[in-house]
Symmetry: C2
Subunit: 474 residues, 2 copies
C-alpha cells in the first residue's frame, strides 16, 4: 500500500520543481483530474510538471522513499481512464507536458528523439519539415503526447502498414520505480542483452516506468495517395479483397477500414455536409488507401485491382477519389462514425481484436448471440479489419430507454462480447489499453497464467506499487 | 538456491515422461552436455525429453515443487553456452527436440505454428512446400530449433529486411516457472492487454519461460535474386551506398554484408575452391543481395544504382552474379570467414552492435585503440553493416604465441572492445545473447538501472530461480 504525501514531501517536491513544475491550485489541476470522455474523475494533492528527465527521476526518488503514488499523464486523451488518479487524493499527478522538446532529427537514419510531452501533431509537423513522416496517427493527435502513445502502444488508422507504436519505437528513455534512469534511446537494430525493456515499457501504461523520451522511426513523406470507397457484400469478402490487394500492392496499402451501412446511414443523418460516395445502399463498405512517394510510384495498381474485383463480382461497386478533397471526404465519413453514434443515443463501446482471419466470423456471429441473450440489442462493428481490430458497439433496442437498458444490461452485454472474443483467441483490448476501465473484466476473463505473470512482473519492478496504482493490473 | 533432484523426483519424472522422454544414460546425454563449440561442459542427473506441452508443464510443476533447476535446450547450437548445465550435476537438462511438429500452416494468413523442437531447415522446407518462405536463416540452420531461435531472438543474414526472430514471431506458447501454460499463440496484430509476454520471452534465453511453440510469420517465396560483390574504400562509404540502395530499392534489399580485404584474403588462402570475384585487391567489399517474387519484380534496379555509384566514384568496382551458382560462390566467401579465421590461429570473437550510423566510426577507431593498448593486436570487423552489427575479431600479434597472448590479454582486450561499444550506445551482444559467456562482463559494464530491472523481472517471474540458472542474469 502506498501512503498519503506528507507536508514535508510536498515541500521537497515544490522546491525541486519550482513554481512552473508544481501546483496545488484546484483550478489549474481541474482539467487534468477528469478524463476527456468524462467517465473518470479523481483528486490529487498536487500536480508535478517536471521539465527534464533528471527532475522526473529526482521526483520519483522522493516519492519512492515516501511510498507515495504517482499517476503519469500526457495529453489526457486516453480511452480507459489510465491517466486519472483515484478519488482518495493521495496519488500525485505527474504531468509530462513540459517535457516537449524534439531533441534531434536524424534525416539519414530517419530517426527522431522526442520527449514524452511532444504532442503528436507537433511531431508530425516536425517530421514533415525534414521531408519525413511519422506515420502513426489517430483522432486525438492534437492532444495525445509521445509518452502516452508509447505507454499505451497506441494504434490508429495506419497500423496495417506501419504497425502500432511499438513498431515505430527504436529506443526508450524512462524513469524506473526506484528513480533510476533507463537510458535505452540508442536506436539499435540488434540487441540481445536479455529482457527487452523497450517492449516491456511500451504498453505498460506507466505502471512499470515513466517514459520520458523515445527514439522514433520516421518514413519518407508520402506525396501521393489513392483513396477508394468500395461497396461489398460482407466482411468475409472484404478480407478476400484485402488479401488480394496485399499480394499485388503490398507495402503501399496503408488503410483498409470497414463500415457497415447502418454506420454510414447514421453519419449521413447526423453529420452536416456529408454525402454517400455511392448513391445506392450496400450492406458494407471498405475505405482503402494507398500512399507512396509519388503518383508514379503508386501507378494504376489500385484501379487495376478494383476493376478486376468488380469484374469477378468480389465487390459490388467502387468510387476512387479524384483529388485530395474527395479523399478527405471519404475519411470524414469513417472518422465521424463515433460522433454520429453519440447523436443516436447511448451505446456500449468495445475495442477488440481477434486473429484477422476470424474477424468476419466474429462480426457475423456476435450480433446473433447478443440478440438471443438481449432481445432487440443492436451491434455494429466498424474499423480496422486488416488489423483484426473492430470497434464493436452495442446499442439498446429501438424504443427502449437507452440509459436504463444500459444500466440494467451493460455489464452482461460486455461480458458476452469479451467472452466471445476470448473464445476466438482474441484480446479484450486491441488498441485502447486496460487502464481503470477494463481492469476488473480482464482479471475476470483473462488466462490465470497470463494474469499471474503480469502481477509477478509488476511486483518485481514496482514492489511498493507507486507507479499508477489501480490501473492495468494489481 | 535450487536443490539437488531427489530419487523420488527423478522417479516421478521417469514415470511421467516414459522411456523415450527420460534418460540418465551417460552416452545418450554426452552430446548435449557440451556446447557445439566445445567451450562449455556440464553435468546433469537426467535428460528430460517431453513430447508435448502438457508433459513440459507437468515436468516443470514437479521440478518447481522440488526447487530443482531446469536447463532448456533446443539444437545445442548457441554461441554463448546458454543451453549447457553447470558442472554440479543438479540441473536437469530439458530437451525440446521431441516436440518437432509443425502444427499448422495457414497459407492465406501466412502464419505457421511450429513446436519448439522443429529444426530451422525443416521449417524452411515446410514453408516452401506451401509456396511460402520463412526468411530467417543462419549458419546453424541444420540443427538450430524454433524454440531456441525464439528464446535467443536469433539474427542471421536476412535481418536487414525481415528483422530478427522477434519480428517474425506472431505468437508464443510457453510454460512458466510455476508450471502454468501461457497460451499466446493466437496471431493478434493488436493486443493491448498490458505487458507483452511474447516480447519478454523472446530473447529471455529460457530464464523466464520454456517456449514450447510459436506462431511464425511467413513471406511469399522469393523466386528471383540479384547478388553483387562490390569493392569499396571504407565502411563509411558502404553505409552511404546502403542508404542509397535503401532509398531507391528499399524493401527488396535483403542482404548487405561487409568484408575487409584481410578476411577475403584468409578465405582465399584457407578455403579450397574459392576465388576472388574481383581480381584486384581493394580495402573493403560489400556483398549485397536483392530478393523478390520474380525477375521482373526486381527489374534492373540494382544494376542501375551500382552503375551510378561507379560513375560517381562511390564504389571502386562491382561484379553482379550471372546465375545462382555465382551467387552461392559470393555467399560462400562471406560464410567461410569464420572457418578461414580458425585456420589462421586463435582469435577473440565479439558480436557487437552500435547504432548503424556509428558503425563506421567503431570499425575505424577500435583497431587503433586496441593497437595502442596491446601493440601488434589485429582487429577485423565483418558482417551485418546494415544492422549495425559486426563480428569484431581480435587476433594476436603476428609471430606471437597466440594461445599465451590470449590467456594473458584476452579479458582486457574484450573489456576494451565492449567499453568502446557501450561508449557509442551499443550492445555487447548483438545477436548471440548473453548465456554463460557474457554474464559477468554484462554485470560489470552494463547500466545499473537496466541490470536492476532485469534482476527484478527474473525475481518476480522465477523467484526460486529454477529456469536456466547461471545464465543471462542472476
Amino acid at each position: 500500500m502506498t501512503r498519503a504525501p506528507s507536508p514535508s514531501l510536498l515541500a521537497a517536491l515544490a522546491q525541486l520543481l519550482g513554481p512552473k513544475g508544481y501546483t496545488t491550485d484546484t483550478d489549474a489541476m481541474a482539467p487534468w483530474l477528469t478524463d476527456w470522455r468524462g467517465k473518470y474523475s479523481g483528486r490529487s494533492a498536487a500536480m508535478l510538471s517536471p521539465a527534464s528527465t533528471a527532475e522526473v527521476a529526482a521526483a520519483v526518488r522522493l516519492c519512492a522513499d515516501a511510498e507515495v503514488a504517482l499517476v503519469p499523464q500526457g495529453g489526457n486523451s486516453g480511452m480507459v481512464g489510465g491517466a486519472t488518479p483515484d478519488a482518495g487524493g493521495d496519488q500525485l499527478l505527474l504531468s509530462l507536458r513540459r517535457m516537449n522538446r524534439v531533441r534531434s532529427v536524424d534525416t539519414a537514419a530517419q530517426i527522431a528523439v522526442a520527449e514524452a510531452g511532444v504532442i503528436l501533431e507537433t511531431f508530425h509537423h516536425e517530421a514533415l519539415a525534414h521531408g519525413l513522416r511519422f506515420p502513426l496517427t489517430l483522432g486525438g493527435k492534437g492532444s495525445a503526447t509521445i509518452g502516452g502513445l508509447v505507454s499505451t502502444n497506441a494504434g490508429g488508422t495506419q497500423v496495417l502498414r506501419h504497425g502500432t507504436m511499438r513498431a515505430l519505437v527504436a529506443g526508450i528513455e524512462a524513469v524506473l520505480p526506484d528513480g533510476s534512469i533507463f537510458d535505452g534511446l540508442a536506436p539499435l537494430k540488434k540487441d540481445n542483452r536479455g529482457y527487452d525493456l523497450r517492449h516491456l515499457l511500451c504498453g505498460a501504461e506507466g505502471t512499470l516506468g515513466i517514459v520520458t523520451a523515445a527514439s522514433l522511426h520516421l518514413v519518407p513523406a508520402a506525396a501521393a495517395r489513392r483513396t477508394a470507397w468500395i461497396a461489398i457484400d460482407s466482411p468475409a469478402r472484404a478480407l478476400l479483397l484485402l488479401r488480394r490487394l496485399d499480394a499485388s500492392i503490398g507495402r503501399e496499402l496503408e488503410g483498409f477500414e470497414i463500415v457497415p451501412h447502418a454506420c454510414l446511414d447514421a453519419v449521413l443523418r447526423h453529420i452536416p455536409q456529408t454525402r454517400a460516395p455511392i448513391a445506392a445502399a450496400h450492406p458494407w463498405y471498405v475505405l482503402a488507401e494507398l500512399a507512396g512517394k509519388s503518383d508514379q510510384a503508386l501507378g494504376g495498381a489500385l484501379e487495376r485491382e478494383l476493376a478486376a474485383a468488380l469484374d469477378t463480382g468480389l465487390i459490388r461497386d467502387v468510387v476512387i477519389a479524384k483529388n485530395d478533397r474527395e479523399s478527405e471526404d471519404f475519411w470524414r465519413l469513417r472518422d465521424s462514425i463515433s460522433e454520429a453514434e453519440r447523436a443516436e443515443g447511448p451505446a456500449l463501446q468495445h475495442d477488440v481484436s481477434v486473429p484477422v482471419d476470424l474477424m468476419p466470423t466474429f462480426i457475423a456471429e456476435n450480433p446473433a448471440r447478443l440478440k438471443q441473450a438481449f432481445p432487440g440489442a443492436r451491434a455494429l462493428s466498424f474499423g480496422h479489419l486488416g488489423d483484426g481490430n473492430v470497434h464493436h458497439h452495442v446499442q439498446p433496442p429501438v424504443g427502449a430507454d437507452g440509459a436504463a437498458w444500459l444500466a440494467a444490461h451493460g455489464a452482461a452485454v460486455s461480458r458476452l462480447v469479451y467472452a466471445h472474443v476470448i473464445e476466438l483467441g482474441g484480446s479484450l483490448s486491441a488498441e485502447h489499453g486496460i487502464g481503470q476501465m477494463k481492469r476488473a473484466i480482464m482479471a475476470e476473463l483473462d488466462s490465470p497464467a497470463r494474469l499471474a505473470a503480469l502481477r509477478a512482473i509488476k511486483a518485481g519492478l514496482d514492489p511498493a506499487g507507486i507507479f499508477n496504482p489501480g490501473k492495468l493490473i494489481d
